[in-house]
Amino acid sequence: MAQAEKKISRRRFLKASTFVATGAALTYGAVSVPLLRKKNKVLLRPPGALDEDLFLASCIKCGQCLQVCPPQVIHLADIDQGFGIGTPYIIPRRGGCILCSGLPCVLACPTGALNHHLSLGKDAEMGIAVVSSPSTCLAMLGKNDLLFRLEQLQQHPEKGDIVTELRDIVARLAGRISPAEKTKLQERFSMPEISESTLPQLIAKVKLSDLDWLIAFVTGSSLAQSGCRVCLDECPIRDEKTIVFEPKSETQEKGAFFPVVQTSCVGCGVCEEKCPTPVASITISPQKKWPGKNKDHVGEGGQST
């Protein structure tokens, strides 16, 4: 008798649990999709990504794009990124896409979520660069980027690996100064000559105590007059100008220029990564597209106010 009762209750449990389980699955589908999609932040996808809805539908979340990425800038989204758990995205400030030749990420994608028709990096439509903070933009202030970075080191010596940063600055400096100034640099660091091959020896000699001298040196050099052009210099698209620096007419400041993003910009994010200001002055609007790529440039459109 007790056994029969047990059997019935077990059958009831089975039935109830089946309803609960299937119900839970259905509810999860019905609730999670709108809920997580609303929360979804707009992420910068790898080049060739389909429109977001179709991309989410066709990405299998295998991460093969991430495996083949030479600069290793692709990350996989987690639950805190919202809807697309396991989908690839790029954090431009940590590392932009360099649009490498052959686009290995597109080739690696097994499902075509990264569209296989895309073969050249310059045809990608990842997003649009926007001068999001014109007030801090060094080009707008007419300030040299290396000088700015040196001053930052002086003002905030506690931040990060100072020596590495200093050496990086010197390496860039050596490539940009005139021959006469190069001799000055040679004398300071007692180098017979400064060229590509001797650059490692030079930067090995740079110490923190050289900071003040370097600031004085750059301030006195011709570099001090040339404003920051890092976003354009680092842009992986070389055959077309992606950013044009227009003279700022309304202010009298010497060397102050207004960066205007051109339609050739694909939103790779390298400019945001390399922007020397503490918070990037140029950022990417992910998944934004140029309204018809035939216009020369969008003028103020590339700039947020």
Partner: protein
């Protein structure tokens, strides 16, 4: 207190075999290694995870990707459930998906369908460890086991395919513990591992091997391939002493019914069998082993 087994032994309805009673039930044959197949299987399983890990970490390109989509020496492999979801969600049929599923079909046709579960799936391995804890707790009478309807996995299969079609998104892939663990192995941990941990705790404290037994729809696709695969567990009527210990270790004990209990079939024909070999290991009569249905006579 009569145990279940005693009751069965005392009734006359239980068949007796030729070999029954001739040999002590618990004495293994000389040379019988208790954990032989489990050691082999775990080694294969962990080695496969290592290959996935190595493809990214050491750039050794043998097996790239994760278990939802990967390349074995350049050949696409796509998990069928994920592929069906993608096709239904995006309404596009990609040729790579077909190639990937074909590769999976051929591989598991050779190696026996749901062998994916026990020989490859990393969640299965974690669940096996969890099962050990579950068993210990149960012998100490701290917990009680709860069974569910075994058909839930099929309902889930249909539901999640339907959800993919309606929502245009691969809903199941967000909670699929197999791909979550697989991604964690290759690309580092994610918050979704908390969900996997929840499942494991549920299995340990409430229902033995619940996910693999009752819920996981991933295995269903492999199950269908397994229907055709000749690699099956073979049962030898002459040697079997009908102790039924094989069923006590089996993930899906009902699959052994047709052999051990009723003696109708020499092969475990149910597609639910994962070919894990636990029954082979535990059988002291050496009555169970791997065999090739249809092909045994040819060889």
């Amino acid at each position: 207190m009569k145990t279940n087994r005693d009751t069965k032994a005392s009734t006359t309805s239980v068949r007796s075999f030729k070999g029954a009673g001739l040999r002590s039930r618990n004495t293994p044959q000389p040379g019988h290694r208790r954990h032989k197949w489990r050691i082999i299987r775990w080694s294969v399983l962990l080695f496969v995870q290592f290959l996935f890990f190595a493809s990214f970490f050491f750039d050794i390109q043998i097996l790239e990707g994760t278990l939802s989509g990967s390349r074995l020496l350049g050949f696409h492999q796509i998990d069928p459930l994920a592929a069906f979801q993608l096709i239904l969600a995006s309404k596009i049929i990609m040729i790579n998906l077909i190639i990937g599923m074909a590769t999976i079909f051929i591989i598991y046709l050779l190696f026996g369908g749901r062998s994916f579960c026990s020989w490859i799936c990393p969640y299965h391995w974690l669940a096996e460890l969890g099962e050990m804890i579950h068993k210990k707790l149960r012998t100490k009478k701290i917990i009680r086991n709860h069974g569910f309807d075994r058909n839930i996995r099929y309902y889930f299969y249909v539901i999640f395919l339907g959800l993919a079609l309606i929502t245009g998104y691969t809903v199941f892939e967000t909670i699929n513990p197999v791909s979550i663990i697989s991604r964690a192995v290759v690309y580092g941990p994610s918050l979704m591992l908390l969900w996997v941990a929840t499942l494991l705790l549920f299995e340990i404290f409430y229902s033995r091997r619940a996910w693999c037994r009752y819920f996981c729809p991933v295995g269903v696709s492999y199950q269908l391939i397994g229907l055709l695969s000749p690699l099956r567990i073979k049962w030898d009527r002459e040697k079997c002493s009908n102790c039924k210990r094989c069923q006590s270790v089996c993930l899906v004990p009902q699959v052994l019914n047709n052999c051990v209990n009723t003696g109708k079939s020499a092969y475990v024909d149910s597609s639910l069998c994962t070919r894990c070999g636990l029954c082979v290991d535990i059988c002291d009569d050496e009555a169970l082993g791997y065999g090739l249905k249809y092909l045994d006579k040819l060889i």
